[in-house]
Symmetry: C2
Subunit: 255 residues, 2 copies
């Protein structure tokens, strides 16, 4: 009977954007999932209670930015990951070990998916499985790349990498050399493991060198993408001075 999406799904990006989870499942599956799931709007700084996450450990992000934050004993906190549109955050079975908190960085619309329905769809619908699998792998490699960025020592390099990360995530919506920074300076600093002051100094540095232009606090225009790319790749000099002998490793032949 009900083959039209529920009211709450009709305007939700998880359904209306091409290729996201609720777009690739069948109308019946969407109907069942919708019945058992709960939408929510979070404002900046809000999180879910532990109780809510136990019952609803699977969160789909429709709009906005969520973060996984870790708190240290002395009050320092770090943002370990960012989640945006289309990300499905599956926290089943890890709430105890992992002491991270899921906190909104901007007003966000999310949908807490019914674990049972989600599981059933995953087991029966290869398309859905593919989308979710792909999204989780993207999250994994994003986190791995981010780890690589963090262990890159230079603050400027980390900022350059982050600008490309933002650009990559909004590839379609935005013109070629305009990038939106979707988080505040303080959050950006915590994500990159540095201080807001340092973030500010690095933006100024890039601007003084004519590599970017800050149209507003969150709109960055890229004036020299190659220069920014070289910085992100750890190339401080204008000429590439890498010694190719230093990074050899044996290649295991096909067998």
């Amino acid at each position: 009977m009900a083959v039209k999406p529920k009211v709450k799904c009709q305007k939700c990006a998880m359904y209306s954007e091409t290729g996201l989870f609720c777009d690739v499942i069948s109308p019946d599956e969407l109907d069942g999932l919708s019945d058992e799931s709960r939408t929510a709007t979070l404002k900046r700084g809000e999180t879910f209670s532990g109780e809510a996450l136990t019952t609803w450990p699977i969160v789909a992000v429709a709009t906005g930015v969520l973060s996984m934050q870790h708190l240290l004993e002395d009050g320092r906190k770090s943002i370990a990951a960012l989640f945006m549109q289309g990300d499905i955050i599956d926290l089943r079975d890890i709430s105890n070990r992992n002491r991270g908190h899921l906190i909104a960085l901007s007003t966000s619309n999310v949908c807490r998916l019914s674990p049972a329905m989600f599981q059933r769809i995953m087991e029966s619908n290869p398309d859905a499985q593919h989308v979710v699998w792909r999204n989780l792998r993207d999250q994994t490699f994003r986190a791995i790349d981010h780890s690589a960025d963090l262990s890159k020592k230079q603050a400027l390099e980390k900022l350059a990498s982050f600008i490309f990360e933002c650009r990559h995530r909004q590839a379609r919506n935005v013109s070629e050399n305009s990038v939106v920074i979707p988080v505040r300076r303080v959050d950006l600093a915590e994500y990159l493991g540095m201080q807001p002051e340092t973030v500010s100094r690095c933006f100024r540095n890039l601007e003084e060198r004519g590599i970017v232009e800050l149209k507003s606090i969150k709109h960055v225009k890229l004036l020299s993408i190659p220069a920014l790319r070289r910085i992100a790749n750890g190339d401080k000099n204008p000429v590439n001075l890498r010694d190719p002998a230093k990074d050899t490793f044996k290649i295991l032949s096909f067998g």
Copy 2:
């Protein structure tokens, strides 16, 4: 007919260890997968050629330690992730974007799984799907936790966290307060985003304070787990001085 595992699988940890992928699939599935897959032994420093990874993008780790390394233009490199027994590394569709290299840090036995067979088993066997899904989520949250560790400023804190990470991964095999560091100092330094000299100084620091004892270069005995835990959590003082008012965030109630 063939319901006994292929010779190459009989001693492989992916099959013989409880709960790993090749242990939870059916004998027929294992048989088919084995026929289409390729085992390999890598020595320290060896990697797969790009060509090999295009044809065999799914690598299961049976023994040893593999790393995902990123090279910077000036020769610096960073180890962004570590893969150990039971990890299934799925590099399908990401070889181009992600410039990381999969490199062995110690002698390792791996199995390049047939993508077609892997996919078929994933779609038809919920148990296998569950194991692989769980493993990928572990990889994701390990990478996220690692990002949090890296953005924690202090070198000592990062080392303490790493010791717990090692302990966590070898929970069953080893006695309560003995931990094996499965990688060399240089690799450890690159994984934690610091210099080998700093790693050395931090180990000495922990030893001088009576928190750990180095039985050998890779065997660490934990003398005071609570003290190590406090360091890992960013608590520099003996007494916990955190101001609870500083880390409040609004909790979105159940709805």
